[in-house]
């Protein structure tokens, strides 16, 4: 049967309608870019609570101004920004009443003065901070946290996200359930790392007055120290293995009487004059000690 003219007209109207609907849906779902500028003085504080998913990237510059660029679906995410003095509060929340609010995404790019204190929280998506020297508290559930050339009192907390810190200094606290931690070329004076099932890698020097604690329940803890280092080492494990591949660079520890007991295997050693204090422990994971070439 041949379609009549009336049928053709009807089909055209429906097609046009469908196209319009698809176009409008695409426009509504397309992410909206937003940029705000905040003038600050002294030591600014940025608090970002990303209740939805998304990436947060922070870089520094010399200007006394904070620039917040965000990208999010306009009809699904509400982004609120507020400045009180030198404090900037940013919150991204889902406006989706039902369904899957946690699939909603908001990405942020912040440019801040070097001495900015950061408090960033997200669900998934990378937190990346580069060349910021203020204290920071970074929290993520499933997202990774990467820091590069940052310093200050740094607190990182993840549930499953991993943590990589390159050329960082100051004091560090890291806790995670299953996330890994990698400290590459660090200059920290105080380090406290704890993960239940993740791995820990410390590849770098120990500050002479530093205190370093690294614990993993079931993961591998690997320490690669340099020939110039000077520290007292205590490595202890319940059922794991202490694999000391740098025994020839160590002496029995001389400074304190930290010992194990019948439940724990303990290795006490001194490198150099034993200035820093390095404590490594696992429950069932392996502890590996190496000297870098």
């Amino acid at each position: 049967m041949q379609p009549t003219t009336k049928h053709r007209q009807s089909l055209s109207v429906w097609s046009a309608g469908l196209l319009l609907f698809a176009a409008s849906s695409a426009i509504a779902a397309s992410p909206e870019h937003q940029e705000r500028h905040f003038t600050v003085q002294g030591h600014p504080v940025v608090v970002l609570q990303n209740v939805v998913n998304g990436r947060i990237e922070v870089k520094s510059w010399k200007n006394s101004e904070i620039v917040v660029s965000s990208t999010a679906a306009k009809d699904k995410v509400a982004i609120d920004m507020e400045q009180v003095g030198d404090r900037i509060d940013i919150a991204a929340t889902s406006t989706v009443a039902s369904g899957q609010p946690h699939e909603v995404e908001a990405n942020f790019q912040l440019t801040v003065p070097e001495h900015t204190e950061l408090q960033l929280k997200t669900q998934t998506g990378l937190i990346y901070v580069e060349q910021v020297t203020g204290d920071m508290k970074l929290e993520s559930i499933a997202g990774d946290v990467h820091l590069k050339e940052v310093s200050g009192y740094i607190i990182v907390k993840t549930t499953g996200g991993s943590f990589v810190c390159t050329l960082c200094s100051g004091k560090l606290e890291f806790t995670s359930v299953s996330g890994n931690a990698q400290l590459l070329q660090p200059s920290f004076t105080n380090v406290n790392l704890m993960t239940t099932s993740g791995n820990i890698l410390y590849d770098g020097d120990f500050s002479r007055t530093g205190i370093y604690t690294m614990k993993s329940g079931k993961g591998l803890v690997e320490v690669r120290f340099s020939g110039n280092d000077s520290f007292d080492l205590q490595a202890k494990t319940y059922s794991g293995v202490v694999d000391n591949q740098a025994a020839q660079f160590m002496q029995p520890e001389q400074h304190t009487s930290r010992h194990g007991n019948r439940f724990t295997r303990v290795l006490n050693r001194t490198v150099g004059l034993g200035f820093a204090k390095v404590e490594i422990s696992t429950y069932s994971g392996t502890i590996r000690i190496l000297k870098r070439d």
Binding site: V51, N53, Q100, P101, H102, E103, Q123, T124, I141, A142, I155, K157, T159, G160, G161, E173, T175, V177, S178, M194, T196, S197, T209, K215, G217, K218, A235, K236, T237, Y238, S239, G240, V241, V242, D243, N244, Q245, A247, Q248, M250, P252, S257, H259, G260, N261, R262, F263, T264, R265, V266, L267, N268, S281, Y283, S284
Partner: protein, 258 residues
Amino acid sequence: MHCKELESVLEAEGLGQLPKDARLHLATCGACQGLLADLNAIASAAKTIPAEMNPPERIWISLRAQLEAEGVIKEPVEAAEHSSWWQSFTALLRRRAFATASAGVVVVVLAVAVFVARIPHTPQAGAANNQPVTESPRAVPTQVVASVPSPTAPVVSLPSKGSAPSKVKELAPSPSESASFTLNQAELDVPNMQLAGNSQVDLALRQNLRTLNAFIAECELRLKENPQDELAREYLYTAYQQKADLLAAMMESGRGDN
């Protein structure tokens, strides 16, 4: 010059060369001579103390407890700084109306602290366990350092408001069992939470909860066999803390609002 003025001079000038007036007064005043002798003794003693000396943790705990008991500080200092597991835990309890369990939780907190403090350090019993500490590549003799019995940790007394510090009761309840029970009660709500199901976050939360539960079970079993294993206890309490944080995070993120 009078005694009060001499004190002011000492306060301002220190113990170095004193002005003539002060010296004249000092020559005739026995009380001020005694004061100066005391100050010199303190200064000498201070010089013998190492520059870096950290007091034991128990000092801070006792000090904090005392200050809290006297109302000088309203909340634990540590809790203000970091979100401790009890902070998360109490938030969790608030949200989930575990009001009846709250009192029990407080008891558990104290019991944990007390229990840890009163664990006698076990005398060493030779080399440890089944797996060796391996050192390579040189022939430095493998050595598991013999442990030495350390002095029993002093009992930390946590004075309550308006009461004199008292000694800890010998028969404290098992803190790990109580904490485990309370956390498991909180976890009972998790299956009923409205989870997205396919999201990366929910998957991560659930997987990590399973990881923690498995690890907690392992540590609890270990402690049941060897109640004096401090390393297992340390890891167990850290796992409890992480589980409390995790449950609080799950509820905070709106999953518990069903």
